[in-house]
């Protein structure tokens, strides 16, 4: 059950506004309560318990309208505090007596509710206690209640053993290291920016409260025309250090009413799939406010590069590149939101945990919506997708590349007298772990978006016959490998090469002996 708690301070326009808002966002799995005074200790816990909630959205009237210790209140109601979504309607102050403000408020609450519903829970390793208030010398024997901050962890599917170090390379706080072959996140260094989670090719790093599934659910709800009639509209991604400034900017300008803030830990964590998905869901535009000076990873230019790639892709698809726009809080330009010329067909959110699949899903959905050419091909080193090819002249079919692939993009089938290496472009994020493992340097990786590859499914990229053992009929090795070994052995060892070509590893020692002798 989801509980939505509306602050009583929002009823300045009369309680009718709050009742109307509650009715707009009510659902069978949702209970809405008005909390007269959020700042009164125990009120949030009481209301949440009354709702029987296991997920919670708290809608407040502004930054000053807050529960004293929301996490403690959530825990008292037996709700995971890392999944509580706090929505600030300070930029949409009541009275909601015009169509725009009520529609906007309903959309924002529905978006927060969708995000809270998609919360998948947290584990102890996801929390780091920190004191938001320093200790007071005069009250040395007391401490403020520590706030639990979400930190990422990688429980499964981590490709560290295959040699992947993407998260460590991406982490701006240098908080990631390895013990043996296991990833370790130093909670004290971690700034919870989420950049590691975006960089992970297998999608194994989770930052509760900011998973792509949660954000996609929020985006889908914000774009849903059935929820509210607000047009034009678009999500604007903003770093938590800038969210207050953005709300002030939206509240002060009539040009910004259609922009719907989506708070992220840091815009550097935004992925291509999330940006494209926002467009694919039907947003008229997608805004990104760059991080402020208080945000450590802002020096990196990854987000800007990803935005540029998305714009290039939209242009290649024949639609306006300006549907994804960088917004400056200091500048008045680009804030004017207009209905998009070509509307995207809203597509269901992708639940796949694999980042490449999510990116591929967003690209294909957009291509269909905009009628992009089937041969659309955009080679780009910034792409989250890639295609792998194998040089058939040098590959020996050893399948080392298949073993190295952490996402299953490369697969193999060994049977019917042949070995077959297949490739699924929708699963390849271009992590390049396969190339260094190839003993013959036969792998070619092309970073870019190839629509034909994305829509053609799994295709064979190498095939070779596998001779069978003359004794036991088991496959020996691909012919290419046997040819390579024969070449390495040379003329002097031609006898050995012949044996290798006739018998499998198990029967080789018995080569020459009649089958009856060993049966």
């Amino acid at each position: 059950m989801l509980g939505i708690l509306l602050s009583g301070r929002l009823s300045r326009g009369g309680s009718g506004d709050l009742d109307a808002l509650g009715a707009r966002v009510a659902a069978t799995d949702t209970r809405v309560r008005v909390v007269a005074d959020l700042s009164r200790t125990g009120e949030v816990a009481r209301a949440a318990t009354e709702c029987g909630a296991d997920r919670l959205v708290v809608v407040r009237a502004g930054p000053g309208d807050r529960a004293p210790s929301l996490q403690t209140e959530a825990r008292s109601a037996r709700i995971d505090p890392l999944g509580v979504v706090v929505l600030d309607l300070g930029d949409t102050p009541p009275p909601w007596d015009d169509a725009v403000s009520m529609e906007r408020a309903a959309l924002l609450v529905a978006g927060a509710a969708a995000k809270a519903r998609a919360f998948g829970g947290s584990r102890p390793e996801h929390a780091r206690p920190q004191f938001s208030v320093g200790m007071d010398r005069r009250a040395f024997l007391r401490m403020s209640a520590p706030e639990q901050r979400a930190v990422p962890s990688a429980p499964a599917r981590c490709a560290a053993q295959q040699g992947c170090r993407r998260c460590r390379e991406a982490c701006p706080a240098e908080a990631i290291s390895w013990y043996g072959e296991r990833m370790h996140i130093d909670k004290r260094r971690c700034t919870s920016c989420g950049v590691c989670a975006s960089a992970c090719p297998t999608g194994s790093i989770e930052l509760p409260g900011w998973t792509e599934a949660e954000m996609e659910a929020q985006l889908a709800s914000l774009a849903d025309r059935a929820v509210a009639d607000l047009s034009p509209r678009g999500p604007v991604f903003v770093c938590r250090s800038n969210v207050a400034a953005l709300r002030r900017r939206i509240a002060s300008g009539a040009d910004a009413a259609g922009w719907l803030p989506v708070e992220v830990p840091c815009v550097e964590m935004l992925t291509v799939s999330l940006l494209l998905r926002a467009v694919a869901l039907g947003a008229d535009a997608v805004g990104v406010v760059p991080c402020g000076t208080g945000c450590a990873p802002r020096q990196a230019s990854g987000a800007r590069e990803r935005i540029a790639l998305c714009r290039d892709l939209l242009a290649a698809m024949g639609t306006e590149a300006e549907r994804i726009v960088v917004l400056s809080l200091e500048s008045a330009s680009a804030w004017d939101l207009r209905p998009a010329a070509a509307g995207a067909v809203p597509s269901p959110a992708s639940a796949d945990p694999l980042p490449a699949r999510r990116a591929a899903g967003a690209v294909v959905a957009l291509a269909r919506a905009f009628g992009a050419p089937a041969r659309l091909d955009l080679p780009d080193p910034r792409s989250p997708l890639a295609t792998v090819s194998i040089d058939g002249a040098t590959c020996t079919g050893c399948l080392s590349c298949v073993d190295a692939c952490p996402t299953g993009a490369l697969g193999s089938h060994d049977g019917n007298g042949a070995v077959d290496v297949s490739f699924d472009a929708t699963a390849c994020g271009g992590c390049a772990l396969c190339a260094p493992r190839c003993p013959e340097s036969a792998i070619r990786i092309r970073q870019g978006i190839d629509l034909a590859a994305l829509t053609s499914g799994r295709t064979s990229i190498f095939r070779d016959l596998t001779p069978r053992c003359q004794r036991c009929q088991e496959p020996i090795a691909p012919e290419a490998m046997l040819r390579r070994v024969t070449a390495l052995l040379g003329e002097e060892e031609s006898g050995l090469a012949t044996t290798l070509g006739r018998y499998c590893g198990s029967c080789r020692l018995l080569a020459g002996a009649p089958p009856a002798a060993v049966s």
Binding site: S76, D80, A127, P129, R137, F140, R142, M143, P146
Partner: protein, 233 residues
């Protein structure tokens, strides 16, 4: 529940009670122990306000609910199935040496010697009546309870430096011992047990140790900053 600043002594007392409760639940459930479990669970429940401010509240709350549920009372058979020697060895060995150093028993002596040295440093020795190794989970948890009790006493006597030293020792013990293996141990218990009680014990144990590692680090940073400010003033 209160948002006012929490007395550090009370926080340490709740942590002490938690460690002691977990230690008792991981020992064979003799009748006297079962009574102590119930009494201690009720005592911790009485500090609900402090408990709710701490990270592992949800796991501890579930543990208290189960521990106080008469239908979930411990029984020797289920304890032995998990932590006793079965036909195929120990299902969930409750010893640090089974998880550290690749589980080689050769390291057991080294770890035991290290732990005994640590315990002696605090003026403690292993009770013969317990008849357990120093790296048994209950012994290590009881030692953490002892350190938390010392911390609570230090805060109560306003002995700030002593409290800081105790927190540093807690942190070191968590980093060098409990924190290194309790996650693996808890994971194993979760995977093997069918009893609600031991599943709750595993969850609470994992959460409490992870949280305390982070909390003691954060507390030390806070207190050291305050000390630096005082020196500057």
């Amino acid at each position: 529940m209160s948002d006012a600043a929490l007395p550090l002594s009370e926080v340490a007392r709740v942590r002490e009670g938690t460690y002691r409760l977990l230690a008792l639940l991981l020992l064979p459930p003799e009748p006297a122990r079962r009574e102590r479990v119930a009494a201690l669970a009720r005592e911790i429940e009485g500090s609900e306000g402090v408990l709710a401010t701490l990270g592992p509240y949800l796991q501890l709350r579930r543990l208290l609910d189960v521990a106080l549920d008469p239908s979930e009372a411990q029984n020797l058979a289920s304890h032995d199935r998990l932590f006793g020697v079965g036909s195929d060895g120990l299902a969930c060995p409750p010893y640090e040496a089974s998880y550290i150093g690749g589980g080689f028993q050769a390291s057991a002596g080294h770890i035991s010697a290290q732990l005994e040295h640590t315990y002696r440093g605090e003026g403690l020795h292993l009770s013969r009546s317990l008849n357990e190794r120093p790296d048994h989970v209950a012994v290590e948890l009881e030692f953490m309870a002892f350190l938390c009790a010392n911390e609570a006493a230090a805060w109560q006597q306003a002995a700030h430096d002593r409290a800081l030293h105790v927190i540093a020792r807690e942190r070191a013990f968590l980093d060098l011992h409990l924190g290194c293996w309790i996650g693996a141990f808890a994971g194993r218990v979760r995977a093997v047990t069918t009893r609600r009680l031991y599943a709750a014990v595993a969850d609470a144990l994992d959460a409490a140790v992870q949280h305390d590692r982070d909390l003691t680090a954060a507390l030390m940073t806070q207190i050291e900053e305050l000390h630096r400010e005082q020196v500057t003033c």
